[in-house]
């Protein structure tokens, strides 16, 4: 156990169960499917007249998706304030990795209609074969790319 979980396993499992409870409570109360990537598209519908962004799936979900995203920020803040002694953490990943990685992941998640939360948590939770295929594919490419970036000297 020590070798595959060098920082322990309890916080990972507990955190994961909380993520599942959050998505489950959202579903029980509102019937909504709580993936995260679509907020990066639906929010554009307020400022872009491009027909793609004016699709009903974006204009009808943009309000709750922004509120859900605001909740993410508040929840992480609550953890830091009440359970982490106010200790913040800034990543030391280089800016070009953050920008390029964000851009490529944003493009891919839109194209695939899902990300880690959408395809893994919601997609596998609803037993959807296309999501299982998507998860296997993006875990595969991510593992290859992360190791290539490391070999090339990235953080």
């Amino acid at each position: 156990m020590a070798t595959i979980f060098p920082t322990g396993f309890a916080h990972y499992l507990a955190g994961g169960i909380l993520l599942g409870l959050a998505v489950s409570l959202l579903f029980a109360a509102t019937g909504l499917i709580g993936g995260m990537s679509t907020v990066f598209t639906s929010t554009w519908s307020w400022v872009s007249k491009v027909p793609f962004f004016q699709d009903a799936r974006f204009t009808q979900s943009r309000v709750w998706r922004v509120v859900y995203a605001a909740g993410l920020v508040l929840g992480a803040l609550a953890f830091i304030v009440f359970f982490s002694g106010g200790a913040t953490f800034q990543t030391s990943i280089s800016w070009w990795q953050l920008l390029l990685g964000g851009f490529v992941a944003g493009f891919g998640a839109r194209m695939s209609n899902g990300c880690t939360s959408g395809h893994v948590i919601c997609g596998l939770g609803s037993l959807q074969p296309p999501s299982l295929a998507a998860v296997c594919i993006f875990l595969g490419t991510a593992i290859v790319v992360a190791n290539v970036v490391k070999a090339l000297g990235g953080l």
């Binding site: 709580g34 992480a76 851009f103």
Partner: protein, 138 residues
């Protein structure tokens, strides 16, 4: 959507953000250490989350006629097509470059992980370029 609905959405989002912070997923370094086989914790996070969600998604529609505050349980069907699979491959490339994916990028801001604003900008830009020039209005 009613204010009471949105309050519940906010609380569920907060629980999600709390879970991302508690599991250290808001640290891209931890995600990269999984992708480089140094720490398999990410599998516990995703496995735990998917297992709980699986139970809720399968049981709730059988136990309740409708959600507490709405008329219907939603569905978000994935489609087995080129976009889903190629898009997943591209998403994984981006995830592997930075260790950042959409949920942790947003939640990290609440934990003062300001450099993630760069990733949030990248995610918005990537989604825009895809939708604007490559999107199918389906």
């Amino acid at each position: 959507m009613k204010t009471s609905h949105l309050l519940v959405v906010l609380l569920c989002g907060a629980l999600f953000g709390f879970g991302l912070a508690a599991s250290t997923m808001i640290r891209p370094e931890v995600v990269l250490s999984f992708l480089r086989f140094k720490d398999f914790g990410l599998l516990l996070v995703l496995g735990g989350a998917a297992a709980v969600t699986l139970i809720a998604y399968q049981l709730l529609p059988r136990l309740m006629k409708k959600p507490l505050l709405a008329e219907n349980f939603g569905k978000h069907p994935s489609v087995m097509n080129r976009d889903t699979l190629v898009g997943a491959a591209i998403f994984g490339i981006g995830w592997g470059i930075s260790g950042v994916c959409p949920g942790p990028a947003i939640a990290g801001l609440g934990a003062g992980n300001w450099p993630l604003l760069i990733s949030v900008a990248g995610l918005f830009a990537g989604a825009y370029v895809q939708g604007r020039w490559f999107g199918n209005a389906n």
